[in-house]
């Protein structure tokens, strides 16, 4: 006669443990977690000039600011989004109007704007970017340059519908 007690006890223990685990929330079913929106950085909005014009290039150029704009959740690239860029550069202070310019993202949600070389100001070599538009919540970024000699800087936006 086969001994069925042991397998039965194992089955009960295993199913009990599984039920406990499921109830505890330690194990969650696989689901699309989604891309979290980018939070605004401290000081990101400083010297922002709402509505700065879309430009081919800020000043004489020589430095590249680039990045991407995606939608929170599914991460879909967002074309045609307006990004304002400004910094303290070799051609002016952050507060100066001519230090500001905006650009639009392309079909892949990417943007790239040439501007004058960013130089350290207020203790750090940094740039400023703002997403400005109606469809999504406003986000201000303040990325730092690894070295003040860098000639490019990247910043990436994940936007949350407004």
């Amino acid at each position: 006669m086969p001994d069925t007690r042991f397998p039965r006890r194992t089955l009960l223990a295993a199913s009990g443990a599984a039920a406990l685990l499921a109830a505890s929330g330690l194990v969650v079913p696989a689901r699309a977690k989604g891309l979290a929106p980018t939070p605004t950085m401290r000081g990101g909005a400083n010297n922002y000039r709402p509505g700065a014009p879309i430009v081919e290039r800020i000043g004489g150029g020589g430095f590249w600011m680039s990045g991407s704009v995606r939608r929170a959740g599914d991460g879909a690239p967002l074309p045609g989004q307006r990004i304002q860029i400004w910094a303290h550069t070799t051609e002016g202070h952050e507060r100066d109007w001519h230090s500001h310019g905006a650009t639009l993202t392309d079909a892949d949600g990417l943007f790239r704007l040439e501007m004058p070389q960013i130089v350290p100001a207020f203790g750090q070599a940094h740039g400023h970017l703002a997403y400005e538009g109606d469809g999504f919540k406003t986000v201000f970024l303040r990325p730092l340059m690894a070295s003040p000699k860098d000639t490019s800087l990247e910043a990436h936006f994940v936007l949350e519908p407004a």
Partner: protein, 200 residues
């Protein structure tokens, strides 16, 4: 000869960082107000090492009353430098300075600067009010030295963390010089202070 060497060392240690910061390449991209704002900060830091030396009468030719009178004059100069430093930064970029006062600045060095500023203002206040408030000398002295330690610590942290006009090596040496001058004066023989007190 010894006096001349001490003065030469003091002058070099304090003046070289100032001169080098005034030769910074960053200045070519800053307007005069912003340049002055940075320079007054550097100047204040360079004047600070003189303070403990003057208070304890360690500088040749400036012992006793003359040293302490100059200590007060430099104290007033530090306040003036502080005012010009903050005002110049405020004019250059108001939102950045407001962030510092509201403790929400992205740059930790600015909070160290704020701490040094508050301690310097408090130190000046208790000194100006020592007689009207009849503060006991011993109590005032402990408070003044405690606040001085905060001013110096805050200033050194503030300066070292900044990527600015100061040349890094001279900035580190000035930080050491300032800390050593203060620590050395704290360890000054008590009779120095006692005699300073009698003459004051």
């Amino acid at each position: 000869m010894r006096a001349a060497l001490i003065w030469l060392a003091v002058l070099v240690l304090s003046a070289v960082p100032v001169v080098l910061s005034l030769a910074s390449p960053l200045l070519q991209w800053r307007d005069p107000v912003y340049i002055a704002a940075g320079a007054t900060g550097v100047l204040a830091m360079a004047l600070m090492p003189l303070q403990p030396l003057l208070a304890t009468g360690r500088l040749p030719g400036l012992g006793g009353f003359r040293g302490r009178r100059l200590h007060r004059i430099i104290g007033a100069l530090l306040l003036l430098c502080l005012l010009l430093h903050v005002a110049g930064l405020w004019i250059t970029s108001p939102p950045d300075v407001i962030d510092v006062f509201l403790l929400r600045s992205p740059t930790p060095f600015s909070t160290w600067g704020l701490l040094a500023m508050v301690a310097l203002l408090l130190s000046a206040a208790i000194t100006a009010l020592r007689k009207p408030l009849r503060l006991r000398w011993r109590l005032w002295r402990v408070a003044h030295l405690g606040l001085a330690a905060v001013v110096i610590g805050g200033t050194v942290a503030h300066a070292l963390l900044i990527e600015g006009t100061m040349e890094p090596v001279s900035k580190a040496l000035l930080s050491l010089w300032l800390t050593a001058a203060f620590a050395g004066s704290l360890a000054a023989p008590l009779r120095h202070r006692a005699s300073a007190r009698r003459q004051g």
